[in-house]
Structures are given as structure tokens and as C-alpha cells.
């Protein structure tokens, strides 16, 4: 109840772009998609004690960010698009229980249509398929 109220209050206080992300475990067909640079409320049933976000988890270019948690929820503004991993300590609703670690992967979408990724994708595609096209065309010409 307290969590829901806090979430509602925070939602009201923030701009219309704010979205709430309940990290409750993976649900097939309902992926978590948040948008880069858009303030997102991270919440979970129970009380969240801490939240660390790892951008590009499992890669050679991982980057960690500790997000401040207030009243069991966190205000998070993604720094870059891509996959990110939440590592949170959650205190279950049963007050006697100790906080337990919880992890979840989320996808952060781009905030604009054009990005450096798109340019690299097109450039790499152009080299590979442009080259292959010229090569195969020459081959077919020889065959006929």
C-alpha cells in the first residue's frame, strides 16, 4: 500500500514522460522496455533497499551506476540505450525476513530514431553487401 502510494505521488510529481517499471520477474511476452534518458521509477513489491544498474552486462564494456533508493523505490534515468541489469536488495513484505538479492535484465530503447549505431549498421552492411553484390554480379556475368 505504502509502495503504491509513494509511486503514485512520485508519478504525479514528475513529467508526463515518466514511466514506472515494476521489476517482478520475467513474464513471457511482456518485455521490459524503457527509453533512454527518460526518468523511470523502479519499484518492486516489498521494500527495495539498494539498486545498482549495470549497463551492457557480461560485456567487456560494462558500466555500473548506483541509483539512490528512497522509500523503497528508485528514480532512475538511463544513461545509454542497450541492455542493463538491475541488482537490487529487496526486503520481503514479511518484516522479519532479511533483504534478499534480486536481479533483472531490462532493455533500454533509443530516445531518437537516428543514432551512431544505425550509421555503423548501415556502413558495415554497405561494405559487406555492396562488396558481395559487385562480386556475385561479376561472377554471374562470367557464367553467362
Amino acid at each position: 500500500m505504502r509502495l503504491a502510494l509513494a509511486t503514485l505521488l512520485l508519478c504525479g510529481a514528475l513529467s508526463a514522460q515518466t514511466r514506472t517499471l515494476h521489476i517482478e520477474g520475467y513474464v513471457a511476452g511482456k518485455p521490459y522496455l524503457v527509453v533512454n534518458k527518460e526518468t523511470t521509477i523502479v519499484a518492486r513489491a516489498g521494500s527495495m533497499k539498494s539498486l545498482t544498474v549495470t549497463y551492457r552486462p557480461g560485456s567487456e564494456v560494462e558500466e555500473k551506476e548506483t541509483v539512490k533508493v528512497t522509500g523503497g523505490i528508485a528514480m532512475w534515468k538511463p544513461k545509454s540505450a542497450g541492455l542493463a541489469k538491475f541488482d537490487a536488495m529487496i526486503k520481503p513484505p514479511d518484516s522479519a525476513a532479511k533483504p534478499a538479492p534480486y536481479s533483472e535484465i531490462v532493455s533500454i530503447r533509443f530516445d531518437s530514431a537516428v543514432s551512431l549505431g544505425l550509421i555503423v549498421m548501415l556502413f558495415a552492411g554497405l561494405i559487406l553487401f555492396g562488396g558481395a553484390y559487385v562480386s556475385v554480379r561479376a561472377l554471374l556475368r562470367e557464367e553467362t
Binding site: Y26, G58, I105, R109, G117, F129, E143
Partner: protein, 522 residues
């Protein structure tokens, strides 16, 4: 009377066969994992550097050797570097033989997963794997189904089926191979194009996934592991160091443009990888699944888990995906088989049927061993079954280590012993694009130097750092009760190394010393 060497009916047939050999399981599932791991778009810079400075030159060299000698790899290498060269050739072919053995096991597991997808068993939420942890453990559907399947006898049946398919396709050499690749390779392209269109344009957020995969993280460029990863990716993805490309090129007319052939094959392979990376990563991104830089994990767990989340008929889509893997794997495995068959026939002038029969028997026995369902790692800390353990051990030696050794040695034999000018002159005589002196520098210095660095890096990273032989820590982790099985598992890492060394280097020495049909005639 000398037997007329078989030839490809068309250049396109050769290109399809060579690119089909290069495009395999790794292209479809592991590229996206590697690109993600090594800095996204930034990975493309070292990848292209490796492609143009290592991949394409080595392929020109292997094609050139086949075209110039019109012999399979060991015999061509003997002409290039005498007995030492022939030994390198046999070492490569025997390595390819060992790789084909565990590769067919991977394909047998693909068939098993395909059957599971067909009956929807792969796509349930959780599967309780009754042997894991002693009392059974619930796992995500694909992962659970996979471990349940490999601990049964179905893969053994599938191994026989996959080997039979290999023999049927290579039955009449280029004639049957060309027929098969003319169906299989276009089929792979169509399936992958459908997958990428679906992933990028029909999944909400899918296009962002494609952009994420290609977004460069420039800090990656300063890391040696990223450069090492890209060189390995290129070497393995182009099927170099197997002797396959030399065998295939030996069936071309002598006056063939090998530079053009190598560039076309490489670009088609890497283009396919580009599409596959975008297709697979778009699905993983939308469903927030972390990719793994491991063929096995991506192929059997991660991508099927992504397919499960797709708003499509899982049975149809999943079965089609595993069929695509099987087809891509077959076009690679037949090239490995053909490399072995061509070498044996060139040396001993044996009939194709006889050589194929021997390859089939040895192959089935080896692949059955690699699919043995005996459980050795009940808690799944490293592997699982005895078969999976053998795949891991032999994969490490024959693929991760053996291919790099072959590539270094062939550069030394051709670059220093034979003289790279001879290959360059032959290639230039028939090519529209002339190779300059830079080609000599690459073959003599740059490629053996960079590959030697990777070999040492891998040894330090995976073997020396752990202070033990690869795989020797497994037995302690598995916690098997004392008995014959525990003793076998403890001894397997050393047995695998000895079998690999004797089976490749030792047998290569014996084959090099054996008199071939030509010498006996002389």
C-alpha cells in the same frame, strides 16, 4: 592411367559450397554474442581489420594452393614444403576429422532440439530435469529440455542419422555436394532474411535492438581481448586452417580467379553474419535476454528462449530455426568430410566408397562417444554428461588451439619454405586484381605473428592462469563418489590431450611416412 580430377560444374556451385562451408552454427548464433561482448559497433573495426588483413589473405593462400596444385591439403602442402609441409597438411586434416566428430554431435543435439520444438516440449516455461542436483531441478524450458535430452539415448540415434546425411551428400563428391548446396545455401539465406525482417521490423523495439548491437563503445578498442576476439572470430568463421578451402579449390579449373573467389566467399560469409547478428540480437533485446559468447548456450538455451517469447507459433518457428541450424551445420560438416576424403584419396588412390565407409564408421563411433548420456556433473557446474565433457575437451584442443596452430604453420610453410611469391604469381596470373608485395608481408610476418600472439594469449588466459591442464579442475567440481566413473572423469583431460596429440600430430607423422600411391608407382 591417371584418374580425371572431379570439377565443379559452375563457379557459382563452388562459391555456394565454399560459403556454405564457412557459414555454420557459429555464424548464426555466436556472432551477436561476440559483437555484444566486445563493444558493439566498435567490434566492427577490429573485425574488418582482421577480415581484410588476415581472413581474406589466408583464404587466397588456401584457394591458391588448391588451384595451383589441384590436390587436397596434405599433398598440396607436400608440394609446397616437402615432408614437413605434408605433415602440416595431415595435422590439419586430422584436426578437421576430430572437429567433424564433435560437430556432428552438436548437430545431433540440434536434431533433438528440433524434435522437441516440433512437439512444443522445448517451449514450456519450466522443465524439471530429474537428474540435476540429485532430486531434480526446475529450469527454463529450452535449457531443461536440452539437459533432459542429452542424458538420454535420442542423440545417439540422431548421430547416426546426421552421419548418414553427410555420407549421402558427399557420395559422389562435387557432383552431389553441388546439388545439395544449391538447395541448402539459398534456403539458409531466405530463412535468415525472413528472420531479420521479422526481428527488426515486426517486433516492437526490434529495430532498436539492431541499433544497440552496432552502437560503438570506443573504450573497447583499447582492450587487447577485443582485438584477439575479432581475429579468432574471423579465423573460425571463414573455415580456415581446416584444409577444406584447399580441397574445394582443387576442384576448380586451374585458371580460376582465386582473389575474386576468396573475396566473394568472405563477404558472403560475413554478410550472412551481419544479418544473423541483427536478427538474433533484435529478439534478445526485445525480450531483455543477455546474449552469451558461447555457441552452445546461444544455440540451445538463449535463442530458443527468445523464440518462446515471440508472438508467433513456437512449434513452427522453433522447428524452422533448428532446421536452419541443421542445414547450416550440414553445409559445414560435409566440407570437413570432403577434406578428409579428398586427402585420403589423393594419397592412397582409394575408392571414394571405401574411404567414405571408413570415415562413416570412425565418425559414428567418435560422435556416439561425444553423445554418451552418462551423467558426470549432477549440479551442472561445468558440463553435465560425459558426452558434453568430451565435446568441451576436444573442442578446446582441436578447434580453439589446433586451427590456430595450423594457420601459423601453413603461413610458415608457404611464406618461408615454398616462397609466397609462387602463390602470388599463380594467383596474379589468373586474377583481375593483382596482389602486391603487401601480400608477402602479411603471409610471412603479420599473420603468423598475430596468430602466435593469440595462441600464447589463449594459453596464458585459459590454461596457465588456472595453473592446470584444461579441464583438470572439473573432476573436483563435480564431486563424484569414488569409483570407476570418478577415475575416468579425473583422467579424461589428460586422455583427451594425449588422444588429440597422438591422433593428429602422431598419425600425421605416420601418414607422412607412409608411401602414397604416386610414390609406389614411381
Amino acid at each position: 592411367m591417371t584418374e580425371q580430377r572431379a570439377q565443379w560444374k559452375s563457379k557459382m556451385g563452388f562459391i555456394l559450397a565454399a560459403s556454405g562451408s564457412a557459414i555454420g552454427l557459429g555464424n548464426i548464433v555466436v556472432f551477436s554474442g561476440n559483437a555484444y561482448k566486445f563493444g558493439g559497433g566498435a567490434f566492427y573495426l577490429p573485425y574488418f581489420v582482421a577480415l581484410f588483413l588476415i581472413g581474406i589473405p589466408v583464404m587466397i593462400m588456401e584457394f591458391g594452393l588448391g588451384g595451383m596444385t589441384r590436390k587436397s591439403f596434405p599433398i598440396a602442402m607436400r608440394q609446397a614444403g616437402g615432408r614437413a609441409g605434408e605433415w602440416v597438411g595431415w595435422f590439419a586434416i586430422l584436426n578437421a576429422g576430430i572437429i567433424s566428430i564433435w560437430y556432428v554431435t552438436l548437430l545431433a543435439w540440434v536434431v533433438g532440439m528440433g524434435l522437441g520444438a516440433m512437439t512444443n516440449k522445448v517451449f514450456v516455461d519450466t522443465v524439471t530435469v530429474d537428474w540435476v542436483g540429485g532430486t531434480g531441478a526446475p529450469m527454463q524450458g529450452p535449457q531443461g529440455y536440452f539437459f533432459q535430452m542429452i542424458a538420454g539415448w535420442l542423440p545417439v540415434v540422431c548421430v547416426i542419422v546426421v552421419w548418414a546425411l553427410n555420407v549421402i551428400i558427399t557420395w559422389r563428391g562435387t557432383q552431389t555436394i553441388e546439388k545439395a548446396v544449391k538447395v541448402f545455401v539459398p534456403l539458409m539465406w531466405v530463412a535468415m532474411i525472413l528472420l531479420v525482417v521479422q526481428g527488426l521490423f515486426f517486433l516492437d523495439g526490434g529495430f532498436d535492438g539492431g541499433k544497440v548491437l552496432f552502437t560503438p563503445h570506443k573504450e573497447a578498442l583499447g582492450q587487447l581481448s577485443v582485438w584477439q576476439g575479432s581475429v579468432s572470430q574471423i579465423l573460425f568463421t571463414l573455415s580456415l586452417g581446416f584444409g577444406v578451402m584447399t580441397a574445394y579449390a582443387s576442384y576448380l579449373p586451374k585458371k580460376s580467379d582465386m582473389t575474386h573467389n576468396a573475396v566473394t566467399t568472405s563477404l558472403l560469409n560475413c554478410g550472412f553474419e551481419w544479418i544473423a547478428g541483427a536478427a538474433i540480437f533484435s529478439i534478445l533485446f526485445v525480450y531483455a535476454i543477455e546474449p552469451k559468447a558461447s555457441t552452445l548456450a546461444m544455440m540451445y538455451f538463449t535463442v530458443p528462449w527468445g523464440i518462446k517469447a515471440l508472438p508467433v507459433n513456437h512449434q513452427v518457428f522453433g522447428t524452422a530455426f533448428f532446421l536452419l541450424l541443421l542445414v547450416a551445420g550440414l553445409t559445414s560438416s560435409i566440407s570437413l568430410v570432403e577434406a578428409v576424403v579428398a586427402a585420403a584419396r589423393d594419397k592412397f588412390r582409394a575408392s571414394r566408397m571405401k574411404v567414405l565407409a571408413i570415415v562413416f564408421v570412425i565418425g559414428v563411433v567418435g560422435s556416439v562417444l561425444c553423445s554418451l548420456p552418462t551423467i558426470v556433473d549432477q549440479d551442472l557446474k561445468e558440463t553435465g554428461t560425459l558426452g558434453l565433457l568430451l565435446v568441451d575437451l576436444f573442442g578446446h584442443w582441436s578447434f580453439d588451439t589446433g586451427l590456430i596452430i595450423v594457420a601459423i604453420l601453413e603461413c610458415i610453410v608457404i611464406g618461408w619454405v615454398m616462397g609466397v611469391d609462387k602463390i602470388r604469381a599463380y594467383v596474379n596470373d589468373n586474377s583481375r586484381f593483382n596482389l602486391g608485395l603487401w601480400f608477402n608481408a602479411l603471409i610471412k610476418w603479420v599473420i603468423p605473428g598475430s596468430l602466435s600472439y593469440i595462441l600464447i594469449y589463449n594459453f596464458v588466459e585459459y590454461d596457465a592462469k588456472k595453473g592446470a591442464l584444461y579441464g583438470s579442475t572439473y573432476a573436483a567440481k563435480f564431486g563424484l563418489p569414488e569409483g570407476p566413473l570418478a577415475s575416468i572423469v579425473a583422467a579424461l583431460p589428460i586422455i583427451a590431450l594425449v588422444v588429440w596429440v597422438v591422433g593428429t600430430a602422431g598419425v600425421a607423422l605416420w601418414l607422412t611416412r607412409s608411401k602414397g600411391a604416386e610414390e609406389e608407382t614411381a
